[in-house]
Amino acid sequence: MVDMSIEVQHISKHFGSFAALRDVSLTVATGELVALLGPSGSGKTTLLRIISGLEVADPDSGGILLHEEDVTDTHVRSRRVGFVFQHYALFRHMTVYKNVAFGLRVRPRKLRPSAQEIHDKVHGLLKLVQLDWLADHYPAQLSGGQRQRIALARALAIEPKVLLLDEPFGALDARTRQELRGWLRRLHGELNVTSVLVTHDQEEALEVADRVAIMSAGRIEQVGTPEEVFHNPANEFVMNFLGRVNIFHGRVEGDRAYLGPLEVEYKGEYQATAQAARGLVRPFDLDIQTEPNNEPGFKATVCHVNAAGPRVKVDLMAESGEPVHVELGHERYRDLGLTAGQEVFVIPREINVYVDDDLQ
């Protein structure tokens, strides 16, 4: 199989004094779909644009390899990358057909396909995105979802080695976003083009990607499959960013952690002097019991129960004043018979404790 991998080697990028990327390295295997996930300012779009050639990394930093060729100094137009923009960037004054055919028409004479070949290719792509019937329409006449599919068809027309998508569904409503997510997943399965997707929507990243790279403040915090990053977060940032967490502030002394209402064993490095620390617990890693037992836990009052959904969400207030969010299965909820104002006991099943030192 032809190599279509991407290798990012020690890339840094500064805008004035602001560091957008700090020594970032990443490998995307042929045919893989990797999501760059992170908050605003994390550097994910900058990284994508540097891979594409629309931005250039700092002169003294590393390089970009596309299909094992060093393209660091290659202009964007020679890299054969398909780029999909958040706001589609369709050419307003051209029909859908001409938009998709654009990349083929601007090729130098020698490499340009014949008119018939272009025709066949464009219609083939439009059929692939199921919009063949819109070929003679103008972009202004299309819905947002349709425009983005055309933009994708246009990027695919040049047979790119890699596909780069910059928050492709960011400008669409929630329903369309969901539909196109599934559609993109199926399309990627069919075409197997190496793809990098930038998004700030974790649901999207975890649903669509083969691997996810979590970014923060110009660095990659963790790279792994969706299950890996969610269930085995490498650090506090990752755990806090993905999904909901309960945070308990406190300290670690010796091998015990005193976190608000909780007191648990600290399995990390023995702390001779007390250090500030935080405990992060997933809502589904907390259990509720009506009677105390020997397990470590704390008292809390039930504030609000939301049973409309696949799981029951319970909001409580701990005795020590912290708000706590727990998710239970419906069976467990019925067994407990919880009511608002009831005093219960909350038992953590699994807790990740992070000491301030860990952040260095």
């Binding site: 805008f15 004035g16 602001f18 605003s40 300012g41 994910k44 250039v56 202009h75 964007v76």
Partner: protein, 299 residues
């Protein structure tokens, strides 16, 4: 803290990255061509006014300016502007209030009518008044009978100047007020303000830079109008000559220094106009800039 550096990013990204700009030599060439064009057509004439005016030294320059006919033309120009600009200001505000804040039949016809002087040659503007008020015109005999002079007299000059300058304020304010909508005024009214209070306290502050801009342009044209006034004035020295007309008279008498001296005054007014214009635009953009921050520049 976050918003300032996102703004910096946006500014940095706004500087053309190499993916979407022309090669260096093309940029240099285009800049060169543009500068040469500007030099030939704008800077050269501008400089020429002053070099010609001072060609025979400050003394001659000064005496040209303080000549009694020159001073009379200055007074007439200022008088004309002092009447035409405020009248057109009131008109502009009234017209844009009616057009921008209400829906009625014939609105677009009215707007087109306001643009009329721009479509018409200045000499035609003068012509229509001569046809109407002139000796052989429709109102001519009646005016003669009542000993009222319009053509070849100051009233005619003022009228013609008002005609050519009346769109300026309106044209600035109409789109501005339309863009601003009626919400602010409706809010004021719902809080109990009267119509006048609403206008003074709510509308006026919103339009102040557009208003300044329109007044500046109106004034520049009022002081500098040549064609229309030339037709109406009769060119009577010391009586019915505005400054532009006086320039013409001096020039036709081959008194070049005199002509350029008076012209230099008008040029200084024009330059001040440009400076004020920039100021008003800058202030206006400042007011708008917060609203226009785009969110799409995500990192």
């Amino acid at each position: 803290m976050q918003s300032t550096f996102l703004l910096d990013i946006r500014q940095a990204l706004a500087r053309q990255p190499r993916a979407t700009t022309e090669p260096f030599w093309i940029r240099g060439l285009l800049i060169g061509v543009a500068l040469a064009f500007i030099l030939l057509f704008l800077i050269a004439p501008l400089a020429a006014v002053f070099t010609q005016a001072l060609a025979e030294g400050i003394g001659v320059y000064w005496s040209s300016l303080t000549d009694s006919d020159a001073l009379a033309s200055l007074r007439l120009t200022l008088l004309t502007a002092a009447i035409a600009v405020p009248c057109n200001l009131v008109f502009g505000v009234a017209a844009s209030w009616a057009i921008a804040k209400f829906e009625f039949l014939g609105k677009s016809l009215l707007t087109t009518l306001i643009d009329l002087p721009f479509a018409v040659s200045p000499v035609i503007s003068g012509l229509i008044y001569v046809l109407f008020f002139g000796m052989h015109g429709y109102l001519g005999p009646w005016l003669r009978a009542h000993d009222i002079e319009i053509i070849f007299a100051v009233p005619g000059i003022v009228l013609a100047t008002m005609f050519v300058t009346f769109p300026f304020v309106a044209r600035e304010l109409i789109p501005l007020m339309q863009a601003q909508g009626t919400e602010d005024e409706e809010a004021a009214l719902s809080l109990g303000a009267s119509g006048w209070q609403t206008f003074w306290r709510v509308t006026l502050p919103n339009i102040k830079w557009g208003l300044l801009y329109g007044v500046i342009l109106c004034n520049a044209r009022a002081m500098g109008e040549f064609g229309a006034v030339s037709v109406i004035s009769g060119h009577i020295r010391g009586l019915t000559n505005t400054m532009p007309l006086h320039v013409e008279i001096l020039y036709n008498e081959y008194n070049f220094v005199g002509a350029f001296a008076v012209a230099s005054l008008l040029t200084v007014v024009a330059l001040i106009t440009l400076v004020l214009k920039c100021f008003a635009e800058w202030k206006f953009k400042q007011d708008l800039s917060v609203e226009r921050q785009e969110e799409r520049w995500s990192i």
